[in-house]
């Protein structure tokens, strides 16, 4: 007997770079529609899974802009391994509110936070372990570093917008943002 052939599942990786995890929460806001969706897709590396190494994927959903060297490395990895790369949320699209630090000198910010801030222990100093990724001088949007295939604006995008995108990709359609669903705030 041949087993009944299941439709191939869409392999989806997700990551939060300089994000707040709010876009991931908005994905979870799909609520019970997550169950039928889960029958047609499977998560690769994602904060929802324990997978550490990113495999070849159909879709990479990236929330957050780029604020440090590790963000850039991970974004390039996602671009290399994901057929379709989606910039999810305001931060991924134009740096978002974290990019308001671009008005300030990053060295000054670190000094203010780790050395001058009231309430710090007397010997507090700037974290300098090589284990830690160095911050970039400015926060950047994803499309300034890699090619992005689709954009889901919003801070965060609505669950309906995320659901529509995933449904389209599962069904092999090109996702089209519905103008009535587009929000930047």
């Amino acid at each position: 007997m041949t087993p009944i052939e299941e439709p191939r599942r869409l392999r989806v990786a997700t990551v939060s770079l300089a994000g707040c995890f709010g876009c991931h929460m908005s994905l979870l806001d799909i609520d019970e529609r997550l169950f039928p969706l889960a029958e047609r897709m499977v998560f690769d590396r994602s904060p929802f899974t324990d997978i550490k190494a990113l495999g070849p994927c159909d879709v990479g959903l990236v929330e957050g802009g780029l604020c440090n060297s590790e963000n850039v490395q991970v974004l390039r990895l996602f671009r290399a391994r994901c057929k379709v790369l989606v910039a999810v949320g305001a931060c991924a699209i134009n740096g978002g509110l974290p990019a308001q630090r671009n008005a300030l000198d990053i060295g000054q910010i670190l000094v203010e936070v780790y050395r001058n801030r009231p309430g710090l222990a007397a010997d507090s100093s700037m974290p300098s372990d090589p284990e830690l990724p160095l911050p970039l001088a400015q926060v950047h949007a994803l499309h300034e570093v890699v090619h992005v295939d689709h954009y889901l604006p919003g801070c965060p995008p609505s669950a309906d917008a995320i659901y529509a995108l995933l449904s389209a990709l599962i069904e092999g359609r090109t996702p089209h943002a519905d103008p009535a669903e587009i929000r930047f705030d």
Binding site: A99, Q100, A103, H143, Y151, P179
Partner: protein, 239 residues
């Protein structure tokens, strides 16, 4: 009365009317950010670019003539409008999630109506200091789209000449007419038209932000100005 054709619909006009003024009066809308019926035209934003007898022209500065054939909502013109809107976004720091004008902003509503999902261009990330010197108003130059509505309102309606545009090229910016260059030392008052006319979140009243609930803001309650004429799907692939 004479008429011109706007996307095939006859629009009546009076002598001296621009295409924009006549269309607006007839209840037909042409996309715009720097035009206001109360003030003279400026031709700064280029959103109202239409085809007049086959040639591109700004509807806000082109005089209506009998029998003109004007194309407005075509896929080609809306694609141009999308790129112009993206240019305005990357030229400034438009972080709508933290902007008090969100939901009430003409630039944002225009972007929605054009189906804009991405920035397309590299971000310029200007870092111009905020002017909070005025007791009732504040000015964020990083959101100013140089539409000159405040300049014209101050000159034509308030008779104060509080604002001007200065500088060249990408460093062109709004100037405040005061010895210190600061809003607090100018003659501007919160009740002036110039203080209320900004279509974006550049000139804002102090202590009044986030007063309107989500869902009840100007562009939440109304549908976006017009649905895009083109398939809005093209995102990054329309080079």
């Amino acid at each position: 009365m004479s008429h011109f054709l706007l996307d095939g619909t006859p629009v009546p006009f009076a002598a001296g009317d621009t295409l924009m003024a006549a269309a607006q009066r007839a209840g037909q809308s042409i996309a715009h950010l720097c035009w206001d019926a109360r003030l003279g035209p400026s031709g700064a934003c280029r959103l109202c670019t239409v085809r007049v007898d086959g040639r591109l022209a700004a509807a806000c500065t082109t005089h209506a003539q009998a029998g003109q054939v004007v194309e407005n909502r075509t896929a080609e013109l809306d694609a141009r409008r999308l790129r112009l809107t993206q240019m305005l976004f990357v030229e400034g720091n438009h972080f709508c999630p933290g902007c008090e004008k969100s939901g009430d902003c003409d630039l944002q509503a225009t972007a929605y109506a054009l189906g804009m999902a991405d920035m397309h261009f590299e971000l310029l990330a200007p870092q111009r200091p905020v002017d909070a010197s005025h007791p009732d108003l504040w000015l964020d130059h990083n959101r100013c789209i140089l539409c000159k509505l405040c300049v014209r309102a101050s000159h034509e309606a308030d008779g104060k000449n509080v604002f001007a545009i200065g500088g060249y090229g990408a460093s062109t910016r709004l100037l405040v007419n005061a010895p210190s260059g600061r809003l607090g030392d100018s003659a501007l008052q919160a009740s002036d038209l110039a203080a209320r006319i900004c279509p974006v979140g550049a000139i804002l009243p102090k202590r009044r932000g986030f007063a309107v609930p989500l869902g009840a803001r100007r562009y939440d309650s109304a549908a976006p100005p017009e649905a895009p004429a083109s398939a809005s799907g093209d995102r990054d692939d329309a080079h």
